[in-house]
């Protein structure tokens, strides 16, 4: 299972990338897309919306099931990826390209509290 070393992760299978401008890009992992199966609907948050870590921030639905996507850290939405919403199966094709939204974190250090690739990899085993 592909778990890029340069990303951070949550136990609920979101990936988080630190951008140079201080924002965090959020998507769902390879493991999550594989578990969901064919993805057919994505609901994105609105830009400007503020979340506390763990809030429902987006929804990804496959043929099989609906899955809530949580804000990995507290922050404000600065951008959403309409291309992913327009082509939900792009998440199946490449989960790490098809990002969902970007957050301006309330606390720049909050990302350090997330899992690294090795620790996330362990949560997906067994």
């Amino acid at each position: 299972m592909n778990i890029p070393a340069d990303l951070k992760y949550t136990e609920s299978h979101e990936w988080v990338r630190q951008e140079a401008d201080g924002t965090l890009t959020v998507g769902i992992t390879e493991y999550a897309q594989d578990a969901l199966g064919d993805i057919v609907f994505v609901e994105l948050p609105t830009v400007g919306k503020t979340f506390t870590a763990g809030d429902d921030a987006a929804v990804v639905e496959s043929v099989k099931a609906a899955s809530d996507i949580y804000a990995p850290v507290s922050g404000t939405v600065t951008a959403v990826n309409q291309a992913t919403a327009d082509a939900p199966d792009s998440i199946n094709a490449n989960a790490y390209d098809a990002w969902l939204f970007k957050l301006q974190p309330a606390d720049a250090g909050a990302i350090d509290g997330l899992l690294d690739a090795a620790a996330y990899g362990k949560t997906t085993e067994g």
């Binding site: 594989d34 199966g37 609907f41 609901e43 929804v59 639905e61 043929v63 099989k64």
Partner: protein, 373 residues
């Protein structure tokens, strides 16, 4: 709890299937893309392992009168050996114990195929009725884990399904070329032993459901795969049956739901001078109607248990919902109030939204064609 496994379990795993716990059975949900498997069945040929379903043989002189009182549909519609009938089996309250197919083999031998999750309950009920009525039937479950001569079941479905079965097992052709829907033929002496070949299915496409000795099913499965029949999992089976407007036991109806409220009035024979378990309870008539819904607004996928609100304010509920691969829209089966009509707009509560949906007549799709739009 250990999951039960069909005789094809290792074949599914070898094919890379994603396995899930389906009512206590370790079953393939897909072998990659559920949508590709769905499309293979609509456009070509796919196959499903349905060996978790249970063949139950009823044998004895009283088989017909016993079934006449056991089933809501009238077994007297089966006059020629080889004919099959879809029916509900009801409890005294008129709720559905199970839905099943009964095959007429001869006057002393009828065969039922019942659902996986209900098999034990069904068999217990049938045995109790056999005792109570003094029918004296031999009741023999033939599922592989319950029988030394177990029967595995493979459903081969799609516009090219029958031709691919004939290519794979040429001996089947002569016996099944003129077989009409809802008829069964038994073909002896094939390379896979005796085959039960029924022109039935759960996809809205043509095809066969094949009963085969449990120890021969893997060879048959591999031979069909080598002839281009695509293995398909329970995921595709669900979207296909939903598009075909077919009920799933435990989801669209159960022990508490009348067949009249589950769109199954056509299977209940109330006309005949015949009593059957549940008949008197059905005299209260239909309370709700079973319809199709197509979502008209973006905002989610229709799912079971979402609330459906009619223009009158009366509410119903979705019993099964999904994204239809054939229609590229969210569709659902729903139980709605009697004041809803086909063509009406209703509103479905999805998360914090109320989204418009159109009420349509079932099925959505049949034989590759979209009928509801």
């Amino acid at each position: 709890m250990t999951l039960k496994a069909t005789p094809l379990n290792s074949a599914h795993r070898a094919a890379g299937a994603k396995m899930v716990d389906f009512g206590g059975w370790d079953m393939p949900v897909n072998y990659g893309s559920q949508i590709e498997e769905h499309n293979a069945v609509r456009g070509d040929a796919g196959m499903f392992d349905v060996s978790h379903m249970c063949v139950v043989d009823l044998q004895g002189a009283n088989a017909r009168p016993f079934l006449r009182s056991l089933l809501a549909n009238n077994v007297d519609k089966l006059q020629a050996p080889g004919k099959a009938l879809y029916s509900c089996m009801l409890n005294p309250q008129g709720g559905v114990i199970d839905d099943l197919i009964v095959y007429f083999i001869d006057e002393t031998w009828f065969r039922l195929v019942v659902n996986a999750g209900t098999a034990e309950k069904d068999i217990a009920w049938i045995r109790e009725r056999n005792e109570t009525t003094g029918s004296g039937l031999a009741i023999t479950p033939r599922r592989a884990d319950l029988s030394d001569d177990g029967i595995a079941l493979v459903a081969v479905q799609g516009p090219n399904a029958r031709a691919k079965v004939w290519d794979t097992v040429p001996a089947v052709r002569a016996a099944s070329e003129n077989l009409k829907p809802f008829n069964v033929a038994f073909v002896k002496d094939t390379p896979f032993g005796e085959l039960m070949v029924a022109r039935t299915g759960y996809t809205g496409e043509d095809g066969f459901e094949i009963g085969v000795a449990a120890n021969q099913v893997e060879a048959l499965w591999n031979a069909l795969a080598a002839n281009g029949v695509k293995p398909a999992g329970l995921g595709a089976r669900d979207t296909l049956r939903l598009e075909a407007g077919m009920n799933l036991y435990g989801q669209d109806m159960d022990d508490t739901v009348s067949p009249l409220d589950a769109g199954l009035a056509w299977t209940v024979d109330l006309v005949a001078e015949r009593d059957f378990t549940g008949k008197s309870a059905l005299q209260r008539g239909q309370q709700q109607q079973f319809v199709g819904l197509i979502l008209r607004e973006k905002g989610g996928i229709l799912r079971a248990h979402q609330k459906v609100v009619a223009a009158s304010g009366n509410a119903g509920e979705i019993t099964s919902g999904t994204f239809s691969p054939s229609m590229q829209q969210a569709i659902a089966l729903a139980r709605v109030p009697m004041d809803v009509a086909v063509g009406d707009t209703v509103h479905v509560e999805i998360r914090d939204k109320k989204l418009a949906a159109t009420v349509v007549k079932l099925p959505f799709v049949r034989n590759g064609k979209i009928l509801a739009a």
